[in-house]
Subunit: 225 residues, 2 copies
């Protein structure tokens, strides 16, 4: 609501890239703005932890932060973007998936699977991604609540979006196929970005997309045996 | 050395299954035995953490525990088995991979990839596997040393063994193919056993083996684009 986009662009000094999250604490020259943003993020972290990704609402988070829900929407847009900012994801996975699906559908030169792998590899190519992954793993391995929150987020924002691209009208089968895709992409992220497993960690993006893309294509639309 | 196998079987009261690790603290009716075993495991955990998987030696661990190296071999066999017991793996991944590769090579009815997936799924089918995985993730996400140790172990014991099955004479290419296999299997383990991602978590083993097996076959021996 109240989409004061020009004002936001002014503050950041550059246009936003699609799928990138807002970086808390790096924007806002006026103290009041960043104080409000931080209050919202604090409230969001507590609500997501206490109620899970599905159970937390923008309205509840706004109430805890003592602001109007419209202000939460103004600063963070969707619940998915707010979650991404709260757990310091450098990107919004669901938005990237949607744009990869749209781009892949219109490109006869490379497959949808290759598009998805390239999108993930590009999204991970930021300095802070390792710390983000380590932080998520640490939370999930330490707190059952954080694990449930992560499961809900992956289920809704990643598997949910991917299942739209599965070549089946059966929703359960579509989610199974999407979850297989998620398993390969999560494994690639852990092997490459967290564990630094060679020679996977140093492999080029296009080489990996050619190797792993057909796997995702088969999981989404191929014969599963 | 001094392979007193009958004595070991007596203590456990049942024959060992191939690939299963010794369970520290559950065997040994005599206090002296379990005290020595625990001292060795304590020394092993510290050495693996301080020197990494590659740098820790049975000789050094034995010296720290104040016992003869032959006793370490007697209780735990190989360094790989000792590591497995120290980090409480319910199985020894490298041994399972070797037996899956041997079984897969001789079975015309199902592919090597299917054998590998089934082997992993069966190995994970023990009550404590979730705690083991969570413990490994927590250590790796908390301590850089633990992360390096895990990377070395995966590189030597898992990628090293799998690369023998890759259809190439080029060692670097074989390791790349093996690392791709590891990425899918690790991702499947995290999605299914840690995150509990549905409907992957409730899928049957043979269904998953049919879906994921061909991926591993292609990574090991197929066209990578």
């Amino acid at each position: 609501m109240t989409p004061r986009t020009p004002g936001r662009t002014e503050r950041r000094g550059r246009p936003e890239r699609a799928g990138r999250t807002e970086r808390p604490g790096r924007t806002g020259r006026r103290g009041g703005d960043s104080g409000t943003r931080e209050a919202i993020l604090d409230a969001a972290r507590k609500r997501f932890a206490a109620h899970g990704y599905g159970g937390a609402t923008i309205r509840g988070i706004a109430a805890d932060a003592g602001v109007d829900p419209a202000l939460v929407h103004h600063y963070f847009g969707t619940k998915e973007r707010l979650f991404g900012a709260a757990v310091r994801l450098p990107v919004v996975p669901g938005e990237l998936i949607s744009s990869a699906l749209a781009a892949g559908a219109g490109d006869p030169g490379s497959s949808l699977g290759e598009h998805l792998v390239l999108t993930a590899l590009e999204a991970w190519d930021v300095a802070e991604i390792r710390d983000t992954f380590l932080g998520l793993l640490r939370s999930a391995a330490t707190s059952e609540q954080a694990l449930i929150m992560l499961r809900e987020f992956v289920t809704e924002a990643i598997v949910g979006r991917l299942s739209a691209a599965a070549g089946t009208a059966d929703p359960a089968q579509a989610r199974y196929r999407a979850a297989l895709v998620a398993s390969q992409v999560v494994g690639l992220g852990i092997a490459r970005q967290v564990l630094g497993l060679e020679p996977l960690a140093e492999a080029g993006r296009s080489e990996l997309a050619a190797a792993v893309g057909p796997t995702l294509d088969r999981y989404l639309r191929g014969d599963l045996g």
